[in-house]
Symmetry: C2
C-alpha cells in the first residue's frame, strides 16, 4: 500500500495485546504479562519475555502505560494504563479488520506437498495431529472448567469468548481430520 510520500508502518499487534491485558487487570508485572501468553492469549499470539520487556519500556516512553514500584519491593515492576494507553486500545479495537489472518498451519502445508491420495504418510501425520489437537482440547476444557465453570463472570466476557473460540477451533479441526481419513 503506497500512499504518496508517507511510509506505512508495519502493523503492530504486541503493544495492543499488552494494553488489553492491562485493561483486564491493572497493576501487572512484566512477568505476569508474559505468563498470560501461555494461556488463552497464547492460542492467538505468542511473545517471549525478551520481546515484552523492551516493549514495555517503549510503551512507557510513549506514555501508553506507567511503571510503579511498591515500597519494600525493588524486584517487581508494576504497570498500568495511562489515559493515552486506554485511548489507543479503544482506537485499535474500533478500527475495522481489513483482511483475514494467515493460520500458518504447518500440518496443512505438509499435506499440500503430498501428491497422491494413497501415500502412506497421510495416516501417520493425521494420527500425530489428532493427538496434538486432543491434548490441547483437553487442556482448554480444563481451563474452561477452572475459570468459568458454566457461568461467565462480570467483566470477563472477552476472556470467556476467546476460550470458547479456541475450543470451537480445535473441535472443528478434529472433525475435519475424520473427513480426511475416509
Amino acid at each position: 500500500m503506497k500512499v504518496g510520500i508517507f511510509i506505512m508502518p508495519k502493523k503492530r499487534t504486541l503493544p495492543y495485546i499488552i494494553l488489553g491485558i492491562l485493561a483486564q487487570k491493572d497493576e501487572q508485572t512484566g512477568r505476569q504479562i508474559t505468563l498470560q501468553f501461555q494461556n488463552e492469549i497464547g492460542e492467538f499470539w505468542k511473545a517471549a519475555h525478551s520481546q515484552i520487556y523492551p516493549e514495555l519500556k517503549k510503551m512507557v516512553a510513549d506514555d501508553w502505560i506507567e511503571k510503579q514500584t511498591h515500597a519494600g519491593n525493588d524486584k517487581e515492576i508494576y504497570y498500568r494504563l495511562t489515559p493515552k494507553g486506554q485511548a489507543e486500545l479503544l482506537a485499535w479495537i474500533t478500527q475495522p479488520i481489513d483482511e483475514l489472518p494467515v493460520s500458518q498451519d504447518i500440518f496443512s502445508l505438509k499435506l499440500f506437498f503430498i501428491q497422491e491420495a494413497t501415500d502412506p504418510r497421510i495416516k501417520t501425520m493425521i494420527a500425530e495431529e489428532r493427538a496434538l489437537l486432543k491434548k490441547q482440547l483437553a487442556h482448554l476444557k480444563e481451563r474452561e472448567h477452572l475459570l468459568f465453570d458454566g457461568h461467565v463472570n462480570q467483566g470477563s466476557y472477552g476472556h470467556y469468548l476467546i476460550l470458547k473460540r479456541a475450543i470451537a477451533r480445535l473441535k472443528s479441526q478434529l472433525v475435519w481430520l475424520d473427513t480426511v481419513e475416509n
Copy 2:
C-alpha cells in the same frame, strides 16, 4: 530449548514451501512461485517477492534447487529441485510436528479486550468479520470449481486437501460467529 553448546536454529518454513511448490510443478520462475502465495498456499503462509528472490538465491547456493535460463529469454529464470532439495523436502515432511500453530486471529484478540457482553461494538465487529469470511469462502469455492470440479486430478491430492481444509475452516468460523451473536 537449550541443548548444550549447540545453538538451535530458528524454525524455517519458507524454503520448504518453495521446495513443495517446485515438487508439484518443476521449472517455475520466481514470479510464478510468488504468485502461488496468492492462492491456496496463501491461506496458510504468505511471502512477498522481496523475500522469495533472496531465498531462491540461498537455496541455489545450498544446492537445494538449480536455476536454468532458456535460450532467447534472459528475462525469466526457471528453478527446479536438485536431488538434495528433494531429500530435504522429504525429511521435513516426515519430521513430526511438535506443537500447534498460533492462529494470530486479530478478531479473536479484539474480542478478548471487550469485557462486557452487552458492549454494542460486538455486533459491528461480527458483521464485518462475517463479510470478510463470506467473501473469502466464495472465492475458495470458485477455486474449487475451477481447479477440481468434483474430481481430484492425479498428483494434485495435496492441493485439493488444503483447499478443502481452507473451506472447512472458513465454514466453521462462520458457524461460530452465529453462536456468538446469540
